[in-house]
């Protein structure tokens, strides 16, 4: 155990800090769930890529730096510390990217990864269907093999970034006689393919952060299947899934929220202390954000040493999503009567983005596998409890 950064790690941090200081937009971008904001965020992805900061863990030939996970954590710390824009292509770079590297053919990697890295292709995800949410194996959308194409019919929903994204990945039933996890295939397709229509779904904040995607005789070449026909469930659930889980929510994000919460509390301390539970909740937010960071460094250290990530990583999502909810609840408690005001309201004062964050935090325990499903996974795969 050595809890100090090497000289090379410190130099890497300094380089990232300097670049971000010079390049992070002075004015916050608009939400990427607006048309203008989406374009601004796409341009930011290109800028990041020019500086070779788009995806530091990727190999250099793909515009990355070949960083290990400790360096990735350092970069993320600097990124959030600098207040840099949210990553509009997170479905691509954090979810699909690692899967492509593990399962993609050389041709697929060459075709998709560079354009993903530059933000030329922004990705939406297509997992859920109206009848397949927590029970994802109930997927019914069909991809029928016809010669060198699949013909897709069906519907995906809660498809994040679907409204302005360029491509979507998802799993589809390629074997019409299959049941449950079998006979599914992981397929990538452009959202402007004829037969696809997208219906935006406004979220709690009124913006269309996700949508429904309807497939009506959509033709996709078979080379757009990833990891082989019938292997869709395996690809989606593979070991890469654990690492994706690690990278989806880096601890720096929650550390910065906790830091801003401490500042908000200190700036409103007298009023906040009318409820002693608030000071305790603020303290706990900081401790829990630290605990999440420490757990991530422990996992990253194991992986860097060549170890494998275990089923205990399924505790991550519960921990960060519930932490995020509690932090935002606490912020609204501190803000009191101002908590309900939108930031542009004349009397809003220092409300900042807490309300929007609070709304988004409500989604945390639901998306990426509900926390109830995560608890089942922990009980069965980590603790070895009897299956239902």
């Amino acid at each position: 155990m050595d809890l100090t950064y090497t000289a090379a790690q410190q130099a890497f941090r300094a380089e990232a800090r300097a670049w971000l200081a010079a390049n992070v937009p002075a004015q916050p971008l608009q939400s990427f769930d607006t048309e203008l904001g989406f374009a601004q965020h796409r341009a930011w992805e290109a800028r990041l890529n020019e500086g070779r900061w788009g995806m530091v863990t990727w190999p250099t030939e793909l515009g990355g730096r070949g960083c290990d996970l400790i360096e990735w954590l350092i970069f993320e710390e600097e990124y959030y510390r600098a207040g840099a824009p949210a990553r509009v292509n997170q479905n691509g770079i954090f979810l699909l990217g690692p899967t492509l590297m593990e399962y993609g053919s050389e041709a697929q990697k060459a075709r998709f990864l560079p354009r993903m890295a530059t933000g030329q292709d922004i990705w939406a995800q297509g997992w859920s269907e109206p009848g397949a949410g927590s029970d994802m194996a109930a997927i019914r959308s069909k991809a029928e093999r016809v010669g060198d194409h699949y013909v897709i019919n069906g519907q995906k929903t809660w498809s994040t970034r679907a409204v302005w994204a360029d491509w979507v990945f998802g799993i589809f039933r390629t074997d019409p006689n299959s049941q449950r996890h079998h006979g599914l295939t992981f397929i990538l397709l452009p959202l402007d393919t004829p037969g696809i229509s997208v219906r935006p779904i406004p979220q709690l904040n009124g913006l269309p952060g996700f949508g429904e995607i309807f497939f009506d005789d959509v033709k996709v070449p078979v080379e757009n299947a990833l990891g082989g026909e019938g292997m869709g469930w395996h690809v989606a659930m593979s070991t890469a899934g654990f690492e994706r889980g690690l990278m989806l929510r880096s601890p720096a994000r929650f550390q910065e929220t906790a830091r801003r919460l401490v500042q908000l509390y200190l700036a409103n301390r007298e009023a906040a202390d009318r409820d002693p539970a608030i000071a305790e909740a603020v303290m706990r937010a900081w401790l829990d954000a630290e605990a999440y960071t420490l757990a991530t460094y422990m996992t990253a250290s194991q992986l860097v040493k060549g170890g494998k990530i275990g089923p205990e990583s399924s505790t991550n999502k519960i921990f960060w999503s519930e932490l995020d909810q509690r932090m935002h609840e606490t912020a609204l408690s501190i803000l009191g009567l101002r908590a309900e005001l939108l930031p542009e309201a004349p009397a809003a004062g220092d409300v900042g983005q807490w309300l929007d964050g609070f709304l988004f935090a409500q989604a945390g325990p639901i998306y990426a596998g509900t926390n109830e499903i995560q608890r089942n996974i922990i009980a069965e795969r980590m603790l070895g409890m009897p299956r239902a």
Binding site: L3, L287, D288, L294, M298, K305, T315
Partner: protein, 351 residues
């Protein structure tokens, strides 16, 4: 940056774990409840044979000179086994306190530390703020507080009044003794410093044991959830029961990082160690408290009986929860550091 244990440290943990599982069985723990002292010279002898009484004793005194980080996984295993012998307090508190005395007490240090390492003497140490001293009855030397001062008093110079605990494995005593110039081994600022260090190491060892206890209670409850069948199925197959255990598992996972970072900070005497120890204690104590509550629920009525072994670990967790600083004390330390000292926080400030 490498936040992981070495293969040697993990191997040592495995060995101690196997030993404790074989030797410190629930049956043996219950037998010890029936004995006068509640302690077992033979068991202590086995621990000595494994080298466990020499781990943190300086090499110059015949010990292994290892630090708190080397010991932390073993302390966790002591918790997992519900080991009643005061190995953790001796190795993490008593020995370093004795070793920290200044040069004029070198003869006292040499004499006692060597004997402790060899298993020929045992120590008891007062927990700051606690009027009761654990395991005073089997100690040859007691390290006691008088005001801020540290006193080293031989067993023959004290009289003890036993206080029964909810955990029959605990041996707690009021100690009646007379402080004198000859028993005083540290005073004023030096003594305050020694007690502060002792308190942090005690809380660290306590946290490690609580984490081990939490894991043990989960393991017992998970086993029981297979055995017990209702509605024609093992009760562990029901989601409501699963989630009781999953919630504890989450708390255990996120207590490890704070515990190991605190052990590292104490071992290297880093600034910020007090807050980090408090974080570790809070996280581990909360994990153990939830483990106790949810494990008894999974056991149903059986969990409320004397017969089922859950009580061995549950009661220990309830007792240790309040020792070496209760949660109120540790929360106050964190709040003070966070709100009143301008502590650097946020991304990139963890290490």
């Amino acid at each position: 940056m490498d936040f992981s244990f070495s293969s040697d440290q993990l191997l040592f943990q495995d060995n101690v774990r196997s030993f404790l599982l074989n030797e410190v069985t629930p049956e043996r723990l219950r037998e010890l409840w029936q004995s006068d002292s509640g302690r077992c010279a033979a068991l202590w002898g086995q621990l000595v044979e494994l080298g466990l009484s020499a781990i943190t004793v300086p090499e110059a005194c015949g010990g292994m000179g290892m630090n708190e980080l080397d010991f932390i996984l073993l302390a966790q295993e002591c918790g997992y086994a519900g080991l009643p012998e005061p190995l953790v307090d001796t190795m993490l508190v008593g020995v370093p306190l004795l070793a920290g005395l200044d040069a004029q007490h070198a003869p006292l240090q040499q004499r006692w530390l060597a004997r402790i390492a060899e298993g020929r003497a045992r120590l008891a140490v007062a927990e700051p703020g606690n009027p009761l001293v654990s395991d005073a009855h089997v100690a040859d030397l007691l390290l006691l507080a008088h005001g801020d001062e540290v006193h080293a008093v031989e067993r023959s110079a004290v009289s003890l009044i036993r206080n029964a605990s909810v955990d029959p494995s605990r041996q707690l005593f009021q100690v009646q003794w007379t402080p004198s110039a000859s028993t005083c081994v540290a005073s004023a600022e030096q003594a305050q410093h020694l007690w502060a260090g002792a308190f942090n190491r005690g809380a660290l060892g306590n946290a490690a044991q609580l984490l081990g206890l939490a894991k043990r209670m989960v393991d017992l409850a998970v086993d029981y959830s297979f055995e017990r069948k209702q509605f024609g199925k093992p009760v562990g197959s029901f989601q409501a029961v699963k989630h009781l255990m999953a919630n504890v598992a989450v708390q255990i996972e996120f207590a490890k990082g704070p515990l190991y970072r605190a052990a590292h900070a104490v071992a290297h005497n880093l600034p910020g160690q007090a807050v980090q120890v408090s974080h570790a204690k809070l996280a581990c104590a909360e994990a153990a408290a939830l483990a106790a509550k949810n494990a008894i629920q999974v056991h149903g009525a059986m969990g409320y009986t004397w017969e089922v072994d859950l009580q061995l670990f549950m009661k220990r967790a309830w007792a240790l929860d309040k020792c070496w600083g209760d949660r109120g004390l540790h929360k106050a330390r964190v709040r003070a550091a966070l709100f009143d000292t301008g502590l650097a926080i946020g991304a990139g400030s963890t290490f």
